[in-house]
């Protein structure tokens, strides 16, 4: 355990240094992460204003709250492994990672946390500025807010494990961009990035309950906004825990199969 913590700590320091080195790419990520929810905030505010100030239970200021908090939740839970894994396999850097006596996912976890520690203050400041510009209102109860932390952690875990699992498609094919894009489209619609799930037709909402996407982004957001009853909140947490177990199982399975057929380029 002690050695494990040491390894994490070391990886953490490396990641921090690397992140600070590539400030420009950080800025690009930030702009992407701010611009999309901002555009949808503006679009939905306009829709709400043109229909008398409220749409499907969301007021204009409710939309502002939704999309500003969405920006935060999305930023906290996002990973970039799906862009990176194919590269690691193609140019063989995965081989070096495999030589280490520890699973490569750990360096990605440390990397993810380190990078977010640096970007989070920026995104919080941006959220503050957007809040001043768009006057969001939320009315969550205390218990609901208390559940936000575990819900966020579980959401991060699900998203991390699922995206790590999908990224391993690169073991079998080099054309992962089509798989990635399909995944991101599903995420856009079914995690609530395009519109609050409550605005969709009932059948899409039922689909969203079964699939993992809602539990990666929308659910913590619904808690923050105070939209759930205690029963719904607890059921949600249980579903999240179930998804963590399922996605962990998938991750192990795919890794074991993938690593067996992996042969580095040039080997």
């Amino acid at each position: 355990m002690r050695a494990f913590i040491d390894i994490y700590f070391q990886q953490f320091k490396t990641s921090l240094a690397a992140t600070l080195q590539y400030r420009a790419s950080l800025a690009i990520w930030l702009i992407g992460h701010v611009l999309e929810p901002l555009v949808f905030l503006i679009v939905w505010s306009s829709v709400s204003n043109s229909s008398g100030g409220s749409v499907g239970g969301f007021t204009t200021r409710g939309f502002a709250a939704y999309f500003i908090l969405l920006m935060l939740v999305n930023h906290i839970t996002y990973t970039w492994i799906m862009y990176e894994f194919e590269y690691r396999i193609r140019n063989g850097t995965l081989s070096f990672a495999l030589l280490k006596p520890i699973h490569p996912i750990h360096s990605d976890i440390a990397d993810n946390i380190a990078s977010k520690l640096i970007t989070l203050p920026f995104i919080l400041v941006i959220a503050g500025i957007l809040a001043l510009a768009f006057h969001p209102v939320i009315s969550p109860s205390l218990w609901s807010l208390a559940l936000v932390i575990p819900a966020l952690l579980l959401a991060l875990l699900i998203r991390f494990l699922i995206e790590w699992t999908l990224a391993q498609a690169a073991f079998w094919t080099t054309r992962v961009s089509a798989i990635n894009q399909t995944y991101f489209v599903l995420l856009l619609f079914l995690s609530g990035q395009l519109a609050p799930l409550a605005l969709y037709p009932a059948w899409i909402q039922s689909v969203a309950v079964i699939l993992p996407f809602r539990w990666m982004i929308s659910f913590p957001l619904e808690l923050m906004l105070g939209q759930l009853t205690p029963t719904q909140a607890l059921t949600g947490l249980v579903i999240q825990v179930a998804w963590v177990m399922v996605s962990y199982g998938l991750f192990r399975l795919v890794w074991q199969a993938g690593i067996r057929i992996y042969s580095a380029v040039g080997a």
Binding site: I31, V39, V43, V47, S51, Q181, L194, A195
Partner: protein, 261 residues
């Protein structure tokens, strides 16, 4: 004419290269169709609650989306690959080979790389645009179509000049490709009418990053929103930016000293 001839040659070479990778066509077609379906799905969700977005009707926003795809395709077809190559070749010195050729260097770097699969985006864009135009056809006059064609050309010119100026910065700075990526992500904002955005963002998307001229202004021409001031302004800006980017390119080129010089 020379430009067209060169572009045709480069296009021929690109097609020959890419035809070796025919599966790419299927993958690219899938990705472009998925992107279009995503955009249409988004519009469907939004327009199930309203039929007016910032004063624009659904068919008008659809026309805007068509223009967004069309111009995005043009950017991805020649502008983006050419400029990315320029930045690389300034860094590693291979621009030498371009400069020794008996053609204008700006022309060569601008047309030398063609991502032929982006023709799919262009075709999809034209398809969406045509559909939207049929829906809007009762309101269309010949003048509007002419103004639209002019504004589309002006928009493409402005975007090209803007990219060329950014890429020319690589004669002074090494890591310029990041700025280009920022532009790509800001171009996304152009799929919605610019009038939707609050003042500061509208200013940013018009004058700092000229996305508005690429998509909203041509769409305004089609939907009878174009004022003659905008028409004149966009035309003048296109000419001014084309000249300015040419001058800037010349200045940058003078700084270029090759790989080992």
């Amino acid at each position: 004419m020379n430009t067209l001839r060169l572009f045709r040659e480069f296009l021929r070479v690109s097609i020959m290269t890419e035809l070796a990778y025919r599966v790419n066509f299927v993958v690219q077609l899938f990705q472009s169709l998925l992107e279009l379906a995503t955009a249409l799905g988004g519009l469907a969700v939004i327009f199930s609650f309203t039929n007016n977005l910032g004063g624009w009707r659904p068919d008008e926003v659809l026309a805007l989306l068509g223009i967004y795809f069309l111009l995005g395709g043009v950017i991805g077809l020649v502008i983006q690959p050419g400029m990315a190559q320029l930045i690389d070749s300034v860094r590693d010195g291979t621009l030498d080979f371009t400069l020794t050729k008996p053609e204008d260097a700006q022309l060569l770097v601008s047309a030398s790389r063609v991502e032929i699969w982006k023709f799919i985006d262009i075709a999809l864009g034209i398809g969406v645009l045509t559909y939207a135009l049929i829906q809007l056809s009762e309101h269309l006059s010949g003048w509007q179509v002419a103004a639209f064609a002019g504004m589309l050309l002006a928009g493409a010119t402005i975007i090209y000049s803007f990219w060329l100026m950014l890429a020319t910065l690589s004669f002074w700075f090494v890591r310029v490709e990041n700025i280009l990526e920022i532009f790509q992500s800001m171009y996304e904002a152009g799929r919605w009418p610019i009038s939707l955005y609050p003042g500061w963002l509208r200013f940013l998307l018009t004058f700092i990053v000229p996305v508005a001229f690429a998509t909203t202004v041509p769409a305004e021409a089609l939907t009878g929103r174009l004022t003659w001031q905008t028409l004149l302004g966009a035309g003048l800006l296109a000419v001014a930016m084309l000249v300015a980017s040419r001058i800037f390119w010349k200045i940058g080129l003078r700084r270029y000293s090759g790989a080992s010089a």
